[in-house]
Symmetry: C2
Subunit: 314 residues, 2 copies
């Protein structure tokens, strides 16, 4: 996503894009790719002094955080530096499903703590949530044909109900961000940008895929099991816990809908920018069936422990 | 405030008002006064079962919590019962100054936890904040002439600056509430209703009163002292801590302004209902000078320990 946003911004003539990265990441392919696209690369150490971080931000108008979801608390020094540098619009790393601030998703709770810090220092900001990503939601086929592209955890259908879920192609996030950060109506507001409203356990998907229905009780019991491991944010167990909580929040509670977003105070991108359509779920599905998909979280999913967790789950 | 809201609602023909009270409070003068005004009195035990509390709420459209600020967490069973009873609009006990959700005021932090619970169970609601009350803000006169009506803690002026502070007469809260709960624009929103924007340390008050200027450092050091006592919510030390934090938030941080309210997502009552004016600070001041004022928090302020705290403070 970091790359998608930066590329889109760099393709838009009115933006000059600077990417902040750790010194140790300077030679990573994604960073080199950005550099090739004309993005200015600046190294920054969030554990350094506020002055040093602020220096990297002087002259910049907007900061977009695309940090790993388990590390959002590391944004605190970035936020303090952004305030010191006079940043006009700060986008914390949200970019996920609609959920209440507390009580449903550990990841959302951590993001709320970050948002509360932003409000405490009175930094101009915009929160963008995008619903559940297509890229983590395609159920596996019995043939194993699309295993190369789906999450190892994408093995069940939460609940047996017919709960609507808002979904977005990760690659469209950049399109939404470009519009939202240029729009005065979204300053200090939360915006919900999604492509399609689907019923994951409904007929659209079930017609094409065979998946295991999972009950609310089964998910909760599995959440308790993984919680008991008290997983650190940089482990696969943490990702598994997040995935299970997303299932429960989206599939059982029905949190991830435009209605709930409006209830929670979000503006809807579909109201603000009716011209943005984005990739359809059907088009994305065809891409994956035609070997053009790409797995997300590869660095975590390839670790052996994620397989152990999933084995216990089955 | 409980009385003011209920009376105003009961005077408005389209409202039928029910007041919930503890069984042990049935004979209190305020409750008897409500009963005389035609308000239906229903006893409820928030420590009872959800079913029992919900039964008291069936058939009611809106619930207004006017619980003591230190006890807002006791609203959780009331909120669950309101959800079960299908309440269309729940007003949690906010009714105070504008401040960020976390990091500035312990009382506001507790209210945020309550609001997060409301959002978690998806209860229709409206938050109303009213700024700082006239009734807790009049500084004492050297002559002692108005001591009968002012808070024992109203002894200083926070900071030496010129920070704007929004103030409201407690008796106008009912007027705002009647309008706000009848207005579909305020559903699931936060509304800031205040009478006047003043500079407490500015010339308006200083021309008439002599007060002790208090520095940010002095307030912070006193906050640390009272925090160290770890005061329970039903003690005068807790009220003192709250008062000191209000001073810091309003007088030093400048949190309690319409601009900050808008930044935090509030609608302004002055935009929604420009016809509501309310009692002016000047009129209220005259009332107090003419012996028609009334002290708030009398039950706490008359305890000896508040005097001890204030003595240490001076």
């Amino acid at each position: 996503m970091k790359v998608a946003i930066s590329l889109l911004l760099s393709e838009t003539p009115r933006f000059e894009v600077t990417a902040l990265t750790r010194h140790s990441s300077l030679q990573k392919p994604a960073v080199l790719e950005l550099q090739k696209q004309g993005v200015q690369i600046v190294t920054v150490d969030l554990a350094g002094t506020e002055d040093e971080v602020a220096k990297a931000l002087f002259g910049i108008d907007a900061v977009i955080s695309a940090i790993y979801g388990g590390s959002v608390i590391d944004e605190i020094p970035l936020i303090n530096a952004a305030k010191a540098a006079g940043i006009q619009r700060y986008l914390p790393c949200f970019f996920a499903t609609i959920a209440p601030p507390k009580g449903a998703l550990l990841l959302r709770e951590m993001k709320e703590d970050v948002l509360n810090h932003i409000k405490n220092v009175r930094l101009p900001h915009t929160v963008i949530d995008v619903g559940w990503w297509y890229q983590v939601n395609l159920p596996r086929l019995p043939s194993g044909r699309i295993d190369y592209a789906v999450m190892e955890t994408s093995d069940g259908i939460a609940g047996g109900g017919n709960i609507p879920i808002a979904l977005t192609d990760l690659r469209d996030v950049g399109t939404y961000v470009v519009r939202i950060i240029s729009d005065p109506r979204t300053l200090n507001r939360m915006v919900f940008a999604y492509n399609e409203l689907e019923r994951v356990s409904g007929e659209k998907l079930q017609r094409k895929y065979v998946s295991i229905p999972v009950t609310a009780e089964e998910i909760q019991s599995h959440i308790h099991d993984v919680e008991a491991m008290n997983p650190a944010p940089d482990t696969v167990d943490f990702v598994t816990l997040a995935q299970l909580e997303y299932w429960y929040s989206c599939g059982i509670r029905g949190d991830n809908t435009p209605e709930n977003a409006k209830y929670l105070g979000y503006l809807l991108a579909k109201d603000l920018y009716p011209d943005i359509i984005g990739v359809t779920l059907e088009a994305y599905t065809h891409e994956v069936l035609e070997w053009r998909g790409r797995r997300v979280y590869e660095h975590l999913m390839s670790l052996p422990s994620i397989r152990a967790v999933n084995k216990a789950w089955k």
